[in-house]
């Protein structure tokens, strides 16, 4: 299984802060995004937002990055702290 977490505006748009998925047939971040949209079609606009950032196990990654079972994947908007 993989754990997926969402933050800030994205968390509110999806109405979801965390979910778990079986990563079978999901190789990359981009494929995970497609799986999420199939899972919840109303998420499409928000998940396909080009500004969205992704991290695996607390490291920023791009869409081609490989996913393995046990990973924690995060999606979030550009950061605005400080």
């Amino acid at each position: 299984m993989i754990k997926i977490v969402f933050f800030a505006a994205l968390r509110e748009q999806l109405g979801c802060s965390e979910l778990s998925l079986d990563p079978t047939n999901i190789l990359t971040i981009n494929q995970l995004k497609q799986a999420l949209i199939e899972h919840q079609p109303q998420w499409q606009t928000f998940i396909e937002n080009n500004a969205l950032l992704s991290a695996i196990n607390h490291d920023m990654v791009d869409g081609e990055h490989l996913i393995k079972s046990g990973d924690e994947i995060a999606f979030f908007p550009p950061v605005t702290g400080g």
Partner: protein, 151 residues
């Protein structure tokens, strides 16, 4: 690296933090601090409060990385970074960066560097409560450009 980063809801005391940076530290003659506070206006709108969300675990890791880079780049002594989360009212402290050094130039540069990278790298998000309701802040391209100047 121990205790150099703190993510907390509670307020902090500037005096106490600087006292810790200076304690048993007779070699560093320069101390530079930055405090970021909730201001009452942003992009023309009156702000009444902020809510700060973060990604626990990733935030600390990123801030520690930024501090490590600052230490490689400048000759600095002690470092402390505090970032608050949760609801904050106008005038409240949000973020503190404190640096000691033997050289004031290094303390200034490292402090500004840490703030610039924190702004664009650390996973915090601000939601403003304004006169027009709640609003997630948009990231500013000027912040990205400022951070790029260090590379």
């Amino acid at each position: 690296m121990k205790n150099e980063v703190s993510i907390q809801q509670a307020d902090f005391s500037l005096a106490d933090e600087v006292a810790l940076l200076e304690r048993d530290n007779e070699i560093d003659g320069a101390v530079v601090t930055f405090i970021g506070r909730v201001r009452n206006k942003n992009e023309g709108l009156t702000v009444t409060a902020l809510t700060l969300e973060h990604y626990p675990g990733m935030t600390e890791k990123l801030l520690e990385k930024i501090i490590t880079t600052a230490k490689e780049r400048w000759n600095i002594g002690r470092v402390k970074v505090i970032h608050r989360i949760g609801r904050l009212e106008i005038g409240e402290q949000i973020v503190f960066v404190g640096i000691t050094s033997q050289h004031r130039q290094d303390a200034f540069a490292a402090n500004e560097f840490i703030m610039d990278y924190l702004k664009v790298k650390a996973p915090f998000w601000k939601k403003e409560l304004t006169e027009n309701g709640e609003k997630w802040l948009a990231a500013k391209s000027s912040d990205s450009k400022k951070a790029e100047q260090w590379s």
